[in-house]
């Protein structure tokens, strides 16, 4: 892949239709927010085969390229969302497996059956070394064998998200303690395979009950499920080692349970470890429990991250701040373990404090990104980012958080998040700078080199155009 890109760059001067079977484009005379470098004016952005090949006032327009006159317009890199469920079926559709989202439905009944069997079967279960003796893994929310890449089911309502400027995301289901293997995707369709930027992006975890009834019903129980599951994965790793040492004979083969087998790359640091954790204590808990298994965590939510800066730094943790800025809320609490039951005054205080988190993180030198997780359909990423700018976040840092930093935090820093040669062509052509100006309209969207017009309405910055995200409001 890398060599292909290098080849394309080398051949850039002669890039034309013939060399670019998936299309060649040139956006001309635009103001370009590159994010990775300085802002350009009167610049061209050249795209071949879905990849940016040249950027600059002197970038030659290849013959045969489709030219988009972007005079007076602004091109910015597609916003990268640090965590979402774009392109996934709505949670109810997942219910077939262990009753996800079913409350005390099928999963609850299974769990109860498992618990009824628990005591009576204890001795037998131990004799059999049965890892499922008292945990019904699916009811407990251990979905580590769930692969986002296999679940993607576009087209859903991705166009509304795209039109708001979000063009790529880390995607995994929202529910569960082990939510499954995340994928980095471009928000396009209809072909799920074409969306994938990285099908093996890491495991997303959350130290909270999955809410499916049965065990676990508490945070400490969820922690126990997390710990037991990773201990089981470590045991599988040990078994594999012993079996190999024995010459793969004389012993039964290791127990390749799919729910532990799929966690071996995580333990081996071949996959990233994401933890959904919003409030202060949840963040500290996630850091401690990542450390227990030698994982380097990236915190998703991070609404009170400004209170945990020394610990985040010590852990070398990635940070993806929820643009919802809403730690509190009713019911179970806000996204990612927020505290429930806050009074309106407390909630307002918490939100005001949360809006300071980005500026505080930037001041501390933490290269955080953003996620839309927890936002509602009426909120817009740029309007939300401006709230953080109102609390001292610079526009340059806001742009980085919306794009390049998030790309880096989800392991796609070489592919997404800026306008520079070699990057995937995720671009937005807009009437202006959506962080710097009041009313900005997106005109054209390019996702992985595919040029799409923006739907007529609602498209204005600050409008109500984000919408359409599946699986929100957990």
């Amino acid at each position: 892949m890398r060599t292909e890109i290098a080849g394309i760059i080398a051949g850039l001067a002669i890039c034309a239709g013939a060399q670019c079977p998936r299309g060649s484009y040139a956006f001309t005379h635009a103001n370009v927010i590159t994010v990775s470098g300085s802002r350009l004016s009167g610049a061209n952005v050249v795209v071949c085969d879905g990849v940016i090949t040249a950027v600059g006032a002197d970038a030659a327009v290849p013959s045969g390229a489709q030219v988009v006159d972007a005079s007076g317009m602004t091109i910015y890199p597609g916003v990268v969302d640090g965590f979402s469920q774009y392109g996934l079926p709505a949670p109810a559709a997942n219910a077939g497996r262990g009753g996800a989202g079913g409350g005390r439905g099928a999963g609850g009944a299974q769990a109860i059956a498992a618990q009824n069997a628990e005591i009576a079967g204890t001795l037998d279960g131990i004799a059999a070394n049965d890892p499922r003796r008292y945990i019904d893994p699916e009811a407990a929310g251990v979905e580590s064998d769930r692969m986002t890449a296999e679940l993607l089911d576009p087209p859903s309502t991705l166009s509304a998200v795209r039109d708001s400027g979000i063009l790529a995301s880390l995607v995994a289901p929202a529910d569960g303690i082990f939510k499954g293997e995340a994928a980095v995707v471009n928000l396009m369709g209809p072909d799920a395979a074409a969306m994938l930027v990285n099908p093996h992006a890491g495991e997303v975890m959350e130290l909270a009950p999955a809410g499916r009834g049965g065990y676990p019903s508490s945070t400490m129980g969820a922690v126990a499920v997390y710990r037991q599951t990773l201990l089981d994965a470590e045991r599988l790793r040990t078994e594999i080692g012993i079996y190999a040492k024995a010459g793969e004979k004389g012993l039964p083969p290791p127990n390749y349970d799919p729910k532990t087998m799929t966690l071996l790359p995580l333990l081996a640091h071949q996959q990233a470890a994401y933890f959904v954790a919003s409030d202060w204590d949840s963040i500290l808990r996630a850091l401690a429990l990542a450390k227990e298994f030698d994982l380097v965590p990236t915190i998703i939510g991070a609404t009170e991250a400004q209170k945990a800066i020394p610990q985040l730094q010590a852990a070398h943790a990635g940070v993806l701040v929820s643009l919802a800025f809403a730690p509190g809320g009713g019911g179970r609490g806000g996204f990612g373990g927020g505290r429930g039951g806050a009074s309106p005054e407390m909630a307002a205080e918490q939100r005001a404090a949360a809006e300071t988190a980005p500026a505080e993180l930037a001041k501390a030198g933490i290269a955080f990104g953003f996620t839309t997780q927890g936002m509602n359909a009426n909120q817009n990423v740029f309007a939300q980012a401006k709230l953080a700018m109102g609390k001292g976040l610079s526009e340059a840092d806001a742009w980085k958080a919306l794009t390049l930093n998030t790309a880096q935090a989800i392991g796609a820093g070489s592919q997404l998040g800026s306008i520079e040669p070699g990057k995937i062509a995720d671009l937005v052509v807009a009437s202006g700078d959506p962080l710097g100006e009041e009313t900005v309209t997106n005109k054209w969207i390019m996702v992985a080199g595919k040029l799409l017009p923006v739907h007529p309405a609602p498209a204005a910055n600050g409008g109500r155009g984000r919408g359409g995200r599946n699986g929100e409001g957990q």
Binding site: I119, L123, G214, S217, R235, I242, E349
Partner: protein, 453 residues
């Protein structure tokens, strides 16, 4: 403009609220154990009587000297104890304070895999409020929904410091058991076994049998591995590890209980499986089997005068602690409450009121005896040379009706100071006086999501 003003106000409010929790810079000096000299106080030692006009020297967090003729070494902070009473820091033997995300893992009947240490919220304001009641250590217990519940934590109320610095160093691991109605009735909503009182004991016995099988698996594996055989290890089972720990004498059992026959059933289990019960919790009918508790060296952590709030509590009496003490059984008075923890000294006074025990015996119910039940009485729980510099300083007799805690000290560091707290409250009141008119005009109303100017 309106929006900006709102932001300023809300930010100010947030900043003020944040003062309730010390900043890292404020807390840092409290992290290391300190030196301290308390001069000329009435010292209730909880181990060797009450000493008048006595001074206490703390060095590096430990009590270095106690005496009438001590002088403060140069450079050591001095607290004038004239007219004040000093007692050991109060230990609340039964607490559910500062536990995040559920006190019970109620779904399975055996939830030993759940650990309180994983879910401690060091920022819970109740910890500070309990400091104001002279409490220096709390025993954080899993709830009573499970026959065998989760592992406990022994927490020093070092408000402002991280959890790791609050956990009592070297405290033995303990675990919660629960007998009677609570685990029985929790069975119904969760649809779990057992749903009868007799089943409660069966669940416990089965868990111990399972732990025996599990322990043997590991013993066999280790023996085979030592012989160089290629064998797979057994599965590490987080639900049985703590029960093996009980069998090995490493994990202390604290058993929620009300009726004497269920306590006796657990004592029988302990004889059968050869484990020790460190304390019965609540144990309202313990006075009925005081001899059995004495012979098994079991403590009873109870309420001063709280009974009849449910059927299994009808035989509770206010003389329980006094009767147990008469029989040589150690009794503790606990709170089981965020709020009651702030006035445990008054509950201890009730033991004198009802049972006419000595002041020292009453004091021990909230200091030395809970320390003994937690296995930390060699280092804390009384005012003796070598023990932790943990104290509550009262304005007068702690068992008197107008007793107030003036300072609470842990490891020679002042973690609560009533005078400072009152001054802070004054500044909060001043803030509200200045800004309330603006707040009431709605200028600071940010409740619609902010940014919708």
């Amino acid at each position: 403009m309106k929006f900006n003003l709102a932001i300023v106000l809300v930010a100010l409010a947030a900043g003020l609220a944040a003062q309730a929790y010390p900043t890292p810079a404020q807390a840092a000096p409290l992290a290391a154990p300190g030196d301290l000299f308390i001069r000329n106080a009435t010292v209730m030692t909880a181990s060797h009587g009450t000493l008048e006009r006595t001074s206490i020297l703390v060095r590096a967090g430990k009590i270095a000297a106690i005496g009438a003729n001590l002088d403060a070494p140069a450079g050591v902070a001095v607290i004038d104890g004239t007219g004040k009473y000093v007692i050991p820091g109060i230990i609340d033997e039964h607490s559910h304070t500062a536990i995040d995300g559920g006190v019970n893992e109620g779904a399975p009947s055996i939830s030993a895999m759940a650990h309180i240490k994983d879910v401690i919220n060091p920022h819970d304001i109740n910890l500070y409020r309990q400091l104001a009641g002279g409490v220096t250590i709390i025993h954080q217990l899993h709830g009573s929904a499970n026959e065998i519940g989760g592992e406990d934590a022994v927490l020093r109320l070092k408000w402002g410091l991280p959890v790791d610095e609050m956990l009592y160093p070297g405290a033995p691991q303990g675990i919660k058991f629960a007998l009677g109605e609570n685990p029985k009735q929790t069975a119904n909503p969760h649809g779990r076994y057992p749903a009868t009182r007799q089943g409660v004991n069966d669940a416990i016995r089965t868990a111990f049998m399972a732990a025996q099988v599990y322990k043997k698996q590991w013993d066999d594996y280790r023996a085979a591995a030592a012989r160089g055989e290629a064998v797979y290890p057994p599965r590490t089972d987080l639900n049985l590890e703590p029960i093996v720990g009980i069998l090995e004498g490493k994990v202390l059992v604290h058993a929620h209980s009300y009726e004497s026959q269920e306590m006796q059933a657990l004592i029988d289990d302990s004889d059968e499986f050869h484990f020790h019960i460190a304390s019965l919790e609540h144990c309202l009918e313990a006075y009925k089997i005081a001899n059995e508790l004495k012979s098994h060296n079991i403590g009873c952590s109870t309420f001063a005068d709280d009974w009849s709030y449910k059927m299994e509590a009808v035989d509770g009496i206010a003389y329980n602690a006094a009767l147990l003490e008469q029989k040589g059984v150690r009794a503790a008075i606990n709170s089981d409450s965020d709020e009651r923890a702030r006035r445990l000294y008054q509950d201890a006074a009730k033991v004198i009121h009802y049972g006419n025990v000595s002041e020292e015996t009453a004091l021990q119910t909230i200091t030395l005896n809970p320390a003994w039940m937690l296995g930390i009485d060699k280092t804390v729980g009384s005012i003796d040379v070598g023990k932790d510099g943990d104290f509550a300083i009262f304005n007068g007799d702690p068992f008197g009706p107008s007793a107030l805690v003036e300072k609470t000290i842990i490891d020679g560091r002042v973690f609560f100071d009533r005078a400072q707290d009152l001054a802070h409250r004054k500044s909060v009141a001043e803030y509200e006086r200045l800004f309330q008119p603006l707040l009431s005009l709605g200028l600071a109303d940010d409740s619609d999501g902010g940014g919708n100017q």
